[in-house]
């Protein structure tokens, strides 16, 4: 039994039970129980029809729950036989459940946990492991999230921007546990792309693929390797081609958004034979659009690297100065400053900036990388990045 197939069934089964008149929280619990049972028994006794098995076991569980509740409140058993959903309905189920799990009233952490369970089909134990928290804590987080959306109807009117944000956060949550969260985010975004024609969904999927394509080159001997120093022969060209294809079909709709623009920048990097051969003019063009659209500080800072390559480091440093008041507390501000100062040949000041950036970041691999950059710059070993 393929684990991914099993997990793909979870949102479908929840949606079927909800359509049969059960409330989401109870149905989700029942399916989680069935899932835990499946993980335990399927390896030795695989069912002929996995979905029917899950529905039956979850349904039995619901009846048990209802029996115990019967004394308290009378409720009809609404087990009207529904036709089995077809492929398009399955895609809709994903969208329905994702909209609910990413309800704007929930915090991102709650949405992430609930999404991974109800849409991703992961067990509470796996989710807890992935986020390095005790299982009881994760169980509580999920049950509180469910309580918070108890009265929200299951419909398609979810906030797509929130859904995409949650998937983006899952993608970047890293993986120290047994579950590869980035792979999980790709799988869920792919499911969402089947259900929604919104170009931003494809844009996000493209962005994920274009980043994932560099995975093999991002780490060397346990150390983080930044884009300008990666061994590009290790990049996954098939993943890049898939990302570029998705991006083109998204951009063709003529409604650019934050994820499409980020993906466009990532695609230009993925397409370049080296950092120096990057099409900086085009990168800058996309960054200009991104800043005009989103205007967040990290995009503004990223843009300045492109400015330096197109219009010169001096110009970029002047523009960086204009961002100082708003961004001086960000690690990225000092990292970009270090890069620009190094381009200008001022290694001592560049080292100072990198050390400052190292002190501000909350990512340990990034801190280690920036500390080493500072050490390289001080020891006079630094290579000019454009050599």
């Amino acid at each position: 039994m393929d684990d991914e197939l099993l997990r793909g069934l979870v949102p479908q089964v929840i949606a079927i039970l909800v359509r049969r008149g059960n409330d989401f929280a109870t149905a989700e619990d029942a399916v989680q129980d069935a899932l835990v049972e499946a993980v335990r028994t399927w390896p030795s006794t695989p069912p002929a029809n996995p979905r029917a098995w899950l529905i039956t076991v979850a349904q039995r569980r619901l009846i048990d729950v209802r029996r115990s509740e019967a004394a308290r409140r009378r409720r009809e058993e609404a087990d009207a036989d529904e036709p089995e959903p077809g492929p398009s309905e399955q895609a809709d189920d994903t969208l329905l459940l994702l909209a609910l799990c990413c309800h704007p009233t929930l915090t991102p952490a709650s949405s992430i946990a609930l999404t991974l369970r109800a849409v991703g089909g992961l067990t509470t134990a796996e989710i807890a492991d992935a986020f390095l928290v005790p299982q009881a804590t994760m169980a509580q987080r999920i049950s509180r999230a469910k309580a918070a959306i108890r009265d929200v109807p299951l419909d398609r009117t979810g906030d797509l921007a929130v859904m995409l944000r949650v998937l983006y956060l899952v993608f970047h949550a890293g993986h120290r546990g047994k579950v590869d969260l980035a792979a999980e985010a790709v799988r869920l975004t792919r499911q969402l792309a089947r259900a929604s024609a919104e170009p931003e969904v494809r844009g996000l999927l493209a962005l994920m693929l274009l980043h994932r394509a560099r995975d093999a080159a991002r780490w060397r001997d346990g150390r983080l390797v930044p884009l300008d120093r990666q061994d590009r022969s290790l990049w996954d060209t098939r993943e890049i081609a898939a990302g570029v294809g998705l991006l083109q079909s998204a951009l063709a709709k003529g409604r650019p958004g934050e994820y499409q623009l980020q993906a466009a920048i990532a695609a230009l990097h993925d397409d370049a034979a080296s950092w120096e051969e990057t099409d900086w003019g085009q990168v800058l063009g996309w960054y200009d659009d991104l800043v005009a659209l989103a205007g967040n500080p990290v995009a503004r800072l990223g843009r300045l690297v492109a400015v330096a390559h197109v219009r010169g480091g001096g110009r970029a440093l002047v523009e960086l100065g204009e961002l100082e008041e708003a961004c001086a507390g960000l690690s990225q501000f000092h990292a970009v400053r270090g890069y620009l100062l190094e381009l200008a040949g001022d290694r001592a000041a560049a080292a100072e900036a990198c050390a400052r950036a190292a002190g501000l970041t909350t990512s340990a691999p990034e801190r280690d990388h920036l500390t080493r950059r500072a050490a390289e710059l001080r020891s006079g070993q630094a290579q000019q990045p454009h050599e």
């Binding site: 001997d221 346990g222 150390r223 080292a351 500390t371 080493r372 500072a374 050490a375 001080r378 020891s379």
Partner: protein
Amino acid sequence: MRFLLLKHYRGGPDNHHDVPPMDQWEPERVDDHMQSLRDISRMLEESGELVDAQALHEERVFVQYGGEGASPVTTDGPYPETSDLAAGWYMVDVESRERALEIAAIVSAGPDQHGEPMHEWIEVRQVYTDDGGVPTED
């Protein structure tokens, strides 16, 4: 039995010898130090003694109850240069106190700016258990 092995940015007994900030080391020495940290984690994982290892950001803030309806009272320094500042920890589950001290000594021997043992002070604290203790009738 569980022990917390605490590393410090500063504080504790006088240093064995001066160690400049790591961004002033030779880059290869930085790599060696980072590698030794990874090696220690792997060693403790393989020996089945690692419970947890975490690093703490250098920035800190002290917070105090501000009274009814009031915001929390905070202070973020400046603190005296000698004040204790934890940098991170290993939580280990070991057979004996001696083993905890042995591990602490391994951590302390991480290479410095010259590739020599740093002799860093490691604070070792035993963690209380939540069992009922040893029955007195034994």
